[in-house]
């Protein structure tokens, strides 16, 4: 039976769980001290989710890129694909914090939004185009 080691990150205790899994089912979990830890490990086995954030290119601004984040966590296994999806995206300044940069990324029901405003560069400042 495959055994997995999972470090619980719910609280500073950082319990080291040894989990026996069959497919997506947890047969046995040892080393966890609380219920929250058990729930965390169950989520990590069944459907681990992560915040996703990156930068996208921005044109016509003094800066080159604008930081963006997902409005909700995305499946851990989709992080790399999300990153590729945004790799070639370029937006035009000005950008306001909270502007939606991409709706429903990969059909995951999650939007990507700007986390910082980016001002438009004046012509003479030679903004990057």
């Amino acid at each position: 039976m495959p055994e997995k080691k999972i470090t619980c990150i719910v609280c500073p205790m950082g319990c080291e769980a040894t989990v026996v899994v069959q497919g997506n089912e947890i047969l046995k979990a040892e080393g966890l001290e609380c219920q929250r830890g058990k729930e965390y490990v169950a989520r990590e086995i069944k459907a681990p989710m992560r915040d996703f954030f990156t930068v996208v290119q921005v044109r016509g601004a003094k800066v080159a890129v604008c930081p963006v984040r997902s409005t909700k966590p995305v499946p851990k296994g989709k992080l790399a694909e999300c990153s590729r999806e945004l790799a070639d995206v370029a937006i035009a300044a000005p950008v306001k914090a909270g502007d939606v940069i991409m709706r429903d990324i990969l059909g995951l029901g999650v939007d990507m939004v700007a986390t910082m405003g980016v001002e438009q560069a004046a012509e003479e400042e030679g903004g990057r185009r």
């Binding site: 470090t7 500073p12 205790m13 915040d51 930068v55 930081p67 984040r69 910082m116």
Partner: protein, 414 residues
Amino acid sequence: MNEDVDVAIVGAGAAGLAAAVRAKETGAERVVVIDRNSELGGILPQCIHTGFGLHYFQENLTGPEYVTRFIEKAKELGVQVKTDTMVLNVQPDRSLLTANSREGLVRMKPRALVLAMGCRERARGAIGIPGSRPAGIFTAGTAQRLMDVEGYMPGSKIVILGSGDVGMIMARRFSLEGAKVEAVVEMLPYPGGLPRNVVQCLEDFGIPLLLRHTVTSILGRDRVSGVVIAGLDENGTPMPGTQRALDCDTLILSVGLIPENELSEGAGLQMDQATGGPVVDERMQTSADGIFACGNVVHVHDLVDHVTETGIKAGEGAALFAMGRLPPLTSRIPVVPSSGIRYVVPQVVSGDNAVTLFLRVKSPVRNARLSVGNFTVPVRVARPAETVAVKLTEGRIRALAKGKEIPVSLEVTS
């Protein structure tokens, strides 16, 4: 020359902005924040990851989102900002000499001063790695700025020395942007950063964390072509026969942060060797009347939320001092780190006010007892990477502050 300023704040990062906002809210009229950068926010605009504000806002924010709230609040309250301005020195009487290209040299004597310069990264010179000097060696924060503000990729095959939080966070960013992180190499037998970063930045991407290892040589002439790593024995000495070369084009250093205190030292403030920052009391006032300090200039924090809290205290104290309404402390009792404890902040308490002590342990412990004077609390687990906070009520600290000093120690119970 001699502008009429109530509270001047050096540094517009998380600490300085919190101090500015609170100073205004407390009633100081003219509050000025000075920063050498052209933008406000310090390091936070380049920290595009989440995890900020969980304590202070009970929300999971990115660095830019967290700091934007304080920038907007400061603007709304009429805090004045002087960007692109360097503070050249601070005198014990609170006068400062500033320089920028618009006004030249300007001397300022605020009624109260807050030091919030933050910290700097330790670089290659500070850790003495032998080898040639090719391009491709960056500190983690520089790499972060290159990628997430300036839009450049620092390399494609990367080794990271040191397992500090910024280094691990960059390991994840590199991986997601298509680079290969060969390994994170850590001298100590435990990771330098938070467990959640070990899990979500390294384990998620299958990046090996090599504990008790170090980089013994950097290879390459014009550009890094590899590094030599070695296992370390109990004394931290490279063990013969464990050396091996790792191919890479980039070496990232995440080997610690140092509070930036040239100004504090120049002002003759009493310093703490263990934190690298000025000694402060529970109101974040330094050894000089009317000079306060907050954030990473006092000690390197692991959470920005705590930085903000210290900024709030310093801003409030500074505003009250400027208005002549800060009562002097009735006594100054030293809080002294003893066995198992690296440092405690604040280093001085009066017993007049409730206080939260922030302390760092020397090495990881489980099941220990923390003693603050004769007051003890059980500690299930503590790691050097995470500060331990001990809240002391007004009654408790008043009782503890009756002695000559308050020793703080940690004892393993099982």
